[in-house]
């Protein structure tokens, strides 16, 4: 489990991270979102014990960051750009990482075989890292971060540079790991975060803007229920019928498709209200044909854009 309490980090007089508090539970994948320079990598560096926080505290599996050697044993960290020893081959690199974590020779061998299989590295195990593509280097970094079977994984943009097939494989791997371990990952790819993460948090200028599941974030940003409807027949009667059921509902005719088809938008300030049910009942009651109906959904991109003030 990761528990951060008001962690801040100053670079000179500028806050890179400010009063950040959050919790990532075991068996959960948490996505860390934010525009460039928002403080994502700094947050991860603090939790991986690379940088000490200027103030605040954090615990990994109940161990305070002050006990940094113990924390590092429990954390598997993939830094941004997945650095690795380019002069070594993949096997030698992974051996080095394993030995630094104190793995015995027999365990090390088994772990290298297991992780190279999980990350698809078997074919390049004896090739020098400098000869590998960016995607393979990323996979080497991932394998290295998981080699010592850590309780907690901190992955800074783990799928950068991977091709679509590799991305799917790595996402599946992270999801599998997330069932038992605590995973915190950052990404710029919002659909990826939606797919992989159980919960997500959005930070901007080093401060937490929102935290929760995808549905919670979207729900929070929803200003109400919006329903787009295409009707043929007694449009006004349907609108009045719906307004009779929900007094606060507003109706707007936005277009006439053909002579007898109208496009309407029903809006209600309550985001939890079931407008579709009311419109369907009204159309049936008024003998009007319902041709099309879809709710306007707030996407994660919209939430991200609103909270960070930048395009996703």
């Amino acid at each position: 489990m990761i528990q951060a309490e008001k962690i801040s980090r100053l670079y000179g007089a500028t806050y890179a991270v400010r009063d950040l508090s959050f919790q990532v539970r075991r068996g959960e994948v948490m996505g860390l979102l934010g525009p460039n320079g928002a403080g994502k990598s700094t947050t991860m560096k603090i939790l991986a014990c690379f940088l000490p926080p200027s103030s605040g505290t954090a615990e990994i599996d109940g161990v305070s960051l002050n006990n940094d050697l113990e924390v590092r044993r429990r954390v598997g960290y993939l830094p941004e750009h997945a650095p690795s020893y380019h002069d070594l081959n993949v096997f030698a690199h992974l051996s080095f990482i394993g030995r630094m974590h104190g793995l015995s020779a027999a365990t090390l061998q088994d772990k290298i075989v297991e992780m190279s299989a999980a990350c698809g590295l078997q074919s390049v195990l004896h090739r020098r890292i400098e000869e590998l593509s960016k995607g393979y280097r990323q996979r080497v970094g991932l394998a290295a971060s998981m080699l010592h079977d850590p309780e907690c994984l901190i992955l800074d943009e783990p799928t950068t540079g991977l091709d679509p097939n590799q991305m799917i494989e790595i996402r599946q791997l992270i999801r599998r790991l997330g069932e038992k371990k605590t995973v915190l990952l950052s990404s710029h790819i919002l659909p990826e975060v939606e797919m992989v993460c159980d919960r997500m948090m959005i930070i901007n200028d080093g401060e937490l803007q929102a935290i929760g599941t995808h549905d919670e974030l979207v729900q929070k940003e929803n200003s109400g229920s919006v329903l787009h409807v295409c009707l043929r027949g007694h449009v006004d009667a349907v609108a009045k019928h719906v307004q009779k059921l929900h007094a606060d509902c507003t109706v707007e005719v936005i277009a006439q498709r053909q002579a007898d088809q109208s496009l309407l938008v029903f809006r209600h300030p309550n985001p939890t209200i079931h407008l579709a049910e009311a419109v369907f009942s009204a159309a049936v009651a008024e003998g009007t044909i319902l041709l099309e109906m879809y709710p306007e959904r707030t996407s994660l991109e919209d939430v991200f854009h609103r909270l960070t003030g930048e395009a996703a």
Binding site: K45, A48, C49, F50, L51, P52, L69, E70, R72, R73, V75, Y77, P79, H81, P83, S84, Y85, H86, D87, L88, N89, A92, F96, I97, R99, M100, H101, G102, L103, S104, R128, A144
Partner: protein
């Protein structure tokens, strides 16, 4: 999994092994070894034919100068390259203390230098076949050069910790060694009181004192102290980075 001191030793061993692997898997190690032997062979045969005696003292004097050029070259990438390529972040987020990193890097570098020096053992072997070589003096001189190499290695490791650029690490390491060399050359121009102090602080003075075949505890302690000071400075520099 192991813990405590044994883990630290395993990590030091892993660091040394990794540095050796890089040295032997790239042309770097071979180029340095060939150049080192070429330069030393040149000075050895020059001294041998110039004096015509089975004596290695002159060669040991020049060896101190040769090391001033070679040790910065071997040390420059040790920490500067880790910083530039981002592997320093990987290294320090593993359960390893800064002192273990410094010690591992230092021992790797020192052992690499010792291996180069071991290659020169051919010279005293040749000389002992040709004439009457003072083995005791040669052994004391080798101990002196091993200790001198340790202090030079710690100076250059510190230079490598201060920057992310290898060339800057080489130049700053070389300049620090050059200043120490010039210090010993400038000793006679100071007042007698100052001369005593400067003699104490000059690695070359201690080195030359040992080349006479006399192993004094003060000389040995000086090299150990000098290495410790620069290794502590390296430790401080690496720790300081986290708090910037």
């Amino acid at each position: 999994m192991v813990d405590g001191m044994s883990l630290a030793w395993l990590q030091i061993r892993a660091l040394c092994f990794k540095e050796w692997r890089v040295l032997l898997d790239t042309p770097l190690g071979y180029v340095i070894a060939i150049a080192f032997l070429f330069v030393n062979g040149f000075f050895f045969e020059m001294n041998l034919f110039l004096f015509g005696q089975a004596d290695m003292r002159a060669w040991f004097y020049t060896l101190a100068l040769v090391l001033m050029f070679f040790i910065p070259a071997m040390a420059m990438r040790m920490l500067a390259d880790e910083t530039r390529s981002g592997t320093f972040e990987l290294l320090v987020t593993m359960p390893v203390s800064t002192s273990t990193i410094v010690l591992g890097k230092f021992l790797a570098l020192w052992m690499q230098i010792l291996c180069l020096l071991a290659l020169t053992l051919l010279y005293p072997l040749t000389l002992s076949c040709l004439g009457n070589l003072d083995i005791g003096q040669v052994l004391a001189s080798y101990l002196a050069v091993v200790l001198l190499a340790s202090s030079y290695a710690s100076v250059c490791l510190y230079a490598s910790a201060m920057t992310r650029y290898e060339v800057v690490a080489y130049i700053s390491g070389f300049i620090m060694l050059l200043l120490l060399f010039l210090l010993s050359k400038a000793i006679p121009s100071f007042s007698p009181v100052m001369q005593n102090w400067l003699f104490l602080l000059s690695p070359l003075s201690h080195y030359q004192s040992m080349l006479r075949g006399l192993i004094r505890l003060s000389d040995v302690m000086f090299f150990i102290a000098m290495s410790s000071v620069f290794l502590s400075l390296t430790w401080f520099e690496l720790e300081r980075r986290r708090w910037r």
